[in-house]
Amino acid sequence: MEQHFEIQPIHPEPTSFVRRYIFSTDHKVIAKQFLWAGLIFLLVGGTLAMMIRWQWAYPGEKVPVLGDLFLRRSGGVIGPATYTSIFTMHGLIMIFFAITPAMIGAFGNFCIPLMIGARDMAFPKLNMLSFWTFVVSLLLIIASFLVRLGSAGAGWTTYPPLSTQIGTPGWGQTLVVAAIFVTGAATIMGSINYVTTVLRLRAPGMTYLRMPLTVWGLWLTAILNVLFVPVLGAAALLLFLDRVFGTQFFIAGAASVRGGGDPILFQHLFWIFGHPEVYILILPAWGIVGDLISFFARKPAYWYKGTVFAMTAVTILSAVVYGHHMFVTGMNPLLGKSFMLLTLIISVPAEMLFLNWLHTIWKGSIRLTTAMLFGLGMVFVFGLGGLTGLYLGTISTDLYLHDTMWVVGHFHFTMAAASFLATFGAIYFWFPKMFGRNMSEGLGKIHFWFSVVFITLVFGGQLFVGYAGQQRRLYDPYQYTFLAHLHFPNKLTSWFGFMLGIGQVPFIINFFKSLFAGSKAEQNPWQVGTLEWTLCPSPPPHHNFDKIPTVLRGPHEYANPE
């Protein structure tokens, strides 16, 4: 076992600024780079969300502040075409350029090597390349906002033929499709690293069933990324060719002069990736929360093996349920019904997860730190998100609910609430280790209560109008008679949304204040038993561990009474 030491030699820390902070191969620096990128784009995505909510509260009225800044050409008013770009880019940015980097990019890079006792990722240079490839995709996204006709407008799902030149002419959509392709490449590079690192660089004694749940979540996510992002890549490539070189892979109907294309083909390829993608965004959140809850309840995670098993089961099942996004496309009914059954089966592991979390906090000695609050908040909102998924997984109810705001409410509760809160939980928890300083608990708690209350209200408002039948992606919902009476609830929801936006200000203050003026963090402020806290100073040195540790017990044994 001594030999593990040899394959991970201690490299001297680079001295030049560029090698240290910009083109760094240190997983901890790359983690921070991803965190910054993710937070900045979270702000961009959040701003776009505020514009969506404004439009639904005050359709066609001038947007305060933002209108003068970004919509000068239309006099500060959101037009229908601009609106399509706003929700499309909101969805894409939040998923691919905010939550993915902030949760998977940042905490995958930071936690995996530290938590399994490795000196760095398996391929540090590939890791660096992954980040800088990601930056290229960010540049493409920014460029898409600047071209004539504006950014992409076909929805984040970019269904053709709408996403071909027929529906969205101009360079904006093309650049965005290219950006998806490039960010896919970056994700694959990162994920190859995560997978290999966990497979091969675990410290002696760090068996799979001693890995922290966070690592499990991130690892399973990386596996899904490695396998399914390439399928998205293939779809994006073909769509790019349709847009730029006039092929007709996805075009049918009157516009397909040469015949042979198939719009449903894109949906298959997209959702073969897309459904695993939604679990890509939740698995790390489950893992992080599983750990947080156990740490702060001062108890080992209840039925750890069951949790690991459930997460693995979800990972496997995620590959075979994607058809539930396509129930009303006219797919073969037998296939549709099979997808319904498989989808409903996913709720079994989900229930096991919930039971394990609930049992973990039961009879604990709970410390309600900010990180713990975010963990508990995540369980709360994910309960809502998961349960609303059941209605969608069932074909007959989905006939009514498909493409309504119910779907939007469902996925905001799962992604925008659960993954979002888990990401913040992770930030509050690992900030001392990352930056060597403590965050303010007081501001953190204000941030938590604002977030969890208004998240519930905003996304609850989405479910509410969805139940009443409101379709998604409507520039002005009140054009429809059956939706006219929903103006008031939508306006109320919008105001909750603005409050949610304002509620993020304490976080921003806290983040910057702590970064520069926070109190120096101790090695193990939370008193937990995983390697990064017990063995590394805050922040850890360049090579993480002076001596690669030998692991003797599981991740949640800090308070082991023995």
Partner: protein
């Protein structure tokens, strides 16, 4: 601990596969090898995405060939297939020579492998030229478009492989992989064989599966 392992303390790149510690699940597979396999899985799924598109388009089409579009020439591509198989053999022979620490022989076989790749690309260019003269144009039909996309995506892999192998060949010639440090040759070999393996599938699905008359 062997003498190589001792050298590893001095230089990280000199851990030979023989000195790699045993892993309970993955045995002596090195980091590089595992990483390459994971990448290949990923890459296989990108080909799968394209082939799936091909299959669905073809399965859902009422007629696959537009009038006037030529059949794909099987005998010529069978030759290309044979060429890739040959280059796979030279690849393993080069690897074998490197394992046995025969630098010259290894360089020769690796060089031949890269040459095989170059010839393949030339063959493909020739094939494209011929087909486009016969009236098979990218974008003109699903048949033509899928054909060009899949084969050129594979061609791009061959090109990458040739570049990769050229670098490896030069490094071999310079003695970088002597004395049991052949891991990177094996990893490069994995990529090259994968390119061959994919071609076997592409050849079957795209060229051989007969069209419905």
């Amino acid at each position: 601990m062997s003498e190589h392992a001792a050298a590893a303390h001095a230089h990280p790149d000199f851990v030979t596969p023989a000195d790699w510690p045993e892993d309970p699940q993955y045995g002596k597979a090195t980091l590089g090898k595992l990483g390459m396999w994971i990448f290949l899985l990923s890459d296989a799924l990108s080909f799968a995405g394209l082939l799936l598109a091909y299959g669905i388009l073809r399965g859902g089409s009422t007629h696959w060939h537009n009038p006037g579009e030529p059949e794909l020439g099987i005998p010529f591509t069978a030759g290309l297939t044979f060429l890739l198989i040959c280059s796979s053999v030279t690849m393993v022979l080069g690897y074998a020579a490197a394992v046995e620490n025969k630098r010259k022989q290894a360089t020769l076989f690796l060089g031949l492998t890269a040459l095989g790749g170059v010839l393949f690309l030339c063959g493909q260019a020739h094939e494209y030229h011929g087909l486009s003269q016969e009236g098979l144009h990218f974008g003109a039909s699903a048949y033509a478009s899928t054909f060009y996309v899949i084969t050129s995506f594979h061609g791009f892999h061959v090109f990458t492989g040739v570049t990769y192998l050229t670098i490896i060949t030069i490094a071999t010639a310079l003695g970088k992989f002597d004395n049991g440090n052949y891991n990177r040759i094996e990893v490069a070999g994995l990529f090259w064989h994968f390119v061959d393996l994919i071609w076997i599938l592409v050849f079957t699905f795209v060229y051989l599966v007969p069209t419905q008359k």
